[in-house]
Symmetry: C2
Subunit: 254 residues, 2 copies
Amino acid sequence: MITVIVFGNGNMAWHLCNAFNYCKNVSVVQQYHHKKQDNKFKDFQIPFTNKLQHLKKADFYILAVSDDSIANLSAGLPVFEGIVLHTSGAVSIDALHKKNRNGVFYPLQTLSKGRKIDYTEIPICLEAQNEEDLTLIKELAGTITNNPYQINSEQRRTLHLAAVFANNFVNHLYEIAYTVCEKEGIDSSLLEALILETAKKAIDIMPANAQTGPAKRRDQETMKKHLKKLEGKQELIYKTISASILDTYGRKKL
Amino acid sequence: MITVIVFGNGNMAWHLCNAFNYCKNVSVVQQYHHKKQDNKFKDFQIPFTNKLQHLKKADFYILAVSDDSIANLSAGLPVFEGIVLHTSGAVSIDALHKKNRNGVFYPLQTLSKGRKIDYTEIPICLEAQNEEDLTLIKELAGTITNNPYQINSEQRRTLHLAAVFANNFVNHLYEIAYTVCEKEGIDSSLLEALILETAKKAIDIMPANAQTGPAKRRDQETMKKHLKKLEGKQELIYKTISASILDTYGRKKL
């Protein structure tokens, strides 16, 4: 049995508790958060503490906390036999205090409490300070996913940047598309089939082969008409991305 | 039996031929293109012509041609009893020559020849010049989709603009995300689960409820680190979209 303590009260902590709850050979023996436990964790029936001095022994101490809190929290921990992991895409393994064995356990996915997800498909990006620890962390990741993946802190930062484009920024474009529709009384759910097929197609044939649209075909007339309907930040985003598409495919054409 | 002639040789024409081929009560009696027929249409075994004077009689003449060609092609057609439709998101119904009954048949989807798609899910946006024609065009759309949707030319232009954000621009962000990974030797397929879940989540809970990331939480430190890895158009896109997210959620926060 692998024993785990989950630190944190947010989306990542929730999904770790949830995912490990389905694993026969992992037990979340405790959840720690410095404040009150979020109600959404109650169903897991994991013993909760908000006092570091009450922490139990475990194989892994997973700090599923905000980027800013990782260094301080790890420095405030007792010395353990187990391994202390953080779950951030943007923070180096070196942020963790040296008094304990350290590693990184970064699930590359957008996570919201309560949302059902197929955990076996999520790439979990792993980093350790030696081979022995890496083997143990891989074993832990393998209880959740079919895609454990070893990368270093610099690569993880790059992957996190890519994820900002593929998730955060893409979602903001969805929001603009919905807003554009709603502003003129058009049912935004009309976009749903398009959004899903756009994602599937990019995955199947690679984004570079899936690009279409007015900017790709240098259709100035349509772009002008579109820009008349936009203003402010939306207009700026339209111009900036169109220019980037023109740039990307212009060069290929010549 | 509804009879249809499909004009054009591209992705839209291909998918119309393909979709109608599955319909028991629609027959594509002819395909027209001013040049040679694309080989990918051969399997449909639809009689092909490149001469307007050889066109047969049909209930619908669907101009699945480029936006620029719609006006000229419709002006060059004989006078028919049937209805002439175009399939463009960006072109007004008025571009079609008045000598024939006219309408619009705009499937809101990204279409590539040969790619399998569930046609029943695609919203087909319809426009006609009178109720009688609209009923006929709706009947035609109903043979393909469960989502026929009547909108006027102005609304269709807005929807097309929204689709540029949700499809063309989103795909370009995918391409940047892939490029960022590949530049540092990271397997871009790691992004696939994230891309798919981002799309599904936005559809399920609305994009405004799904927004996360450094810009949303005003994490200047992470944004600075990300910007160090970017240059040129990618840097500009990062800054522009982040500013728009800050703007959108900043105001809500205050």
